[in-house]
């Protein structure tokens, strides 16, 4: 088997793995019943799914001779930004109480999403009065 054949098969395997994890992520999104649990499914697609699809793309571009490493940058940017969107979604879920009761903290601390600011209370009073 020549090098290019090995590369082609490797790229195919990477594509299959990536597609399989994307399917599992989609199944998880449909099957799980709680918003917080559902958030776990996209993190799999975002890391393994996209990661191995892009690896397949890198491998095939080296096989064809036009080496391309842009995919590594895409991966890096995805890995840096994905946790932030997941964090925002979970903050919204906590804010709307769409999840189990969050655990209490000692030392007069609370979760930053649940902090009641004075401005908020004033604004609430105003809307209630009007």
């Amino acid at each position: 088997m020549t090098m290019s054949e090995v590369g082609t098969y490797a790229a195919a395997i990477f594509l299959l793995i990536g597609a399989a994890f994307a399917v599992v992520g989609a199944i998880g999104l449909l099957k799980l019943n709680d918003p917080m649990k559902r958030l776990h499914a996209p993190t799999k697609v975002g890391t393994m799914g996209i990661g191995s699809l892009l690896l397949g793309s890198v491998v095939i571009s080296f096989v064809r001779g036009g080496s391309s490493i842009h995919e590594l940058l895409i991966m890096a940017f995805l890995f840096v930004t994905a946790p932030i969107s997941a964090n925002f979604i979970s903050k919204v879920i906590i804010h709307l109480r769409g999840c189990d009761e969050t655990p209490e903290l000692d030392n007069e601390q609370t979760w930053s999403t649940l902090v009641q600011r004075e401005e908020d209370l004033v604004a609430q009073d105003k809307t209630q009065q009007s």
Partner: protein, 166 residues
């Protein structure tokens, strides 16, 4: 001289990172592009320095590289485990739980990296930070023993991050 250096390069590693990213974006290496990348790497951190005054003092690049390798390995392993949980377990058998992780880390940069790591490894998502920044709220998809998850995060990631950001 040292003050001038600190003024020009508020975040030396950010300068390096921006230059490398710029060269990677070009997809082929040439001297002109490297110089332009370095120029960008000087201008952007200098312009942003106002909004990022408390830079981390010590940052160990070598240990960070080891840490990244460990995290990538964990992502691979955890992905397979979580895929199996999603496919095989019924919803009512899944014991999802909140895990409270008390933090020893105090630098915002280190906490950000820890929170990002927890979210990237499938099966755990960082949901929130306490208002004084001393606890992380983590949601675990299937954790029969939440304390084990907490200890795992503390010993595997936080202990290493404490050595990276000194």
């Amino acid at each position: 001289m040292k003050r001038f250096f600190n003024w020009l390069f508020p975040h030396p590693f950010l300068t390096l990172l921006l230059a490398v990213v710029w060269i990677l974006l070009q997809n082929e290496f040439s001297a002109g592009m490297a110089v332009f990348g370095l120029i960008l790497g000087v201008i952007i951190p200098r312009g942003l320095a106002v909004w990022w005054p408390d830079r981390p003092v010590g940052f160990r690049l070598g240990k960070m590289a080891v840490y990244i390798c460990i995290v990538i390995w964990d992502i691979l392993v955890a992905n397979v485990q979580v895929a199996w949980i999603v496919l095989s377990k019924r919803n009512k058998d899944m014991q999802s739980a909140w895990v409270v992780v008390p933090l020893d880390l105090r630098q915002p940069e280190a906490i950000t990296v820890l929170a990002g790591t927890i979210t990237l490894t499938p099966g755990t998502v960082t949901a929130d930070l306490s208002n004084k920044g001393h606890y992380l709220l983590v949601h675990a998809l299937h954790a029969p023993d939440p304390d084990a998850v907490r200890d795992d995060i503390k010993s595997r990631y936080e202990a290493r991050l404490k050595e990276i950001f000194v």
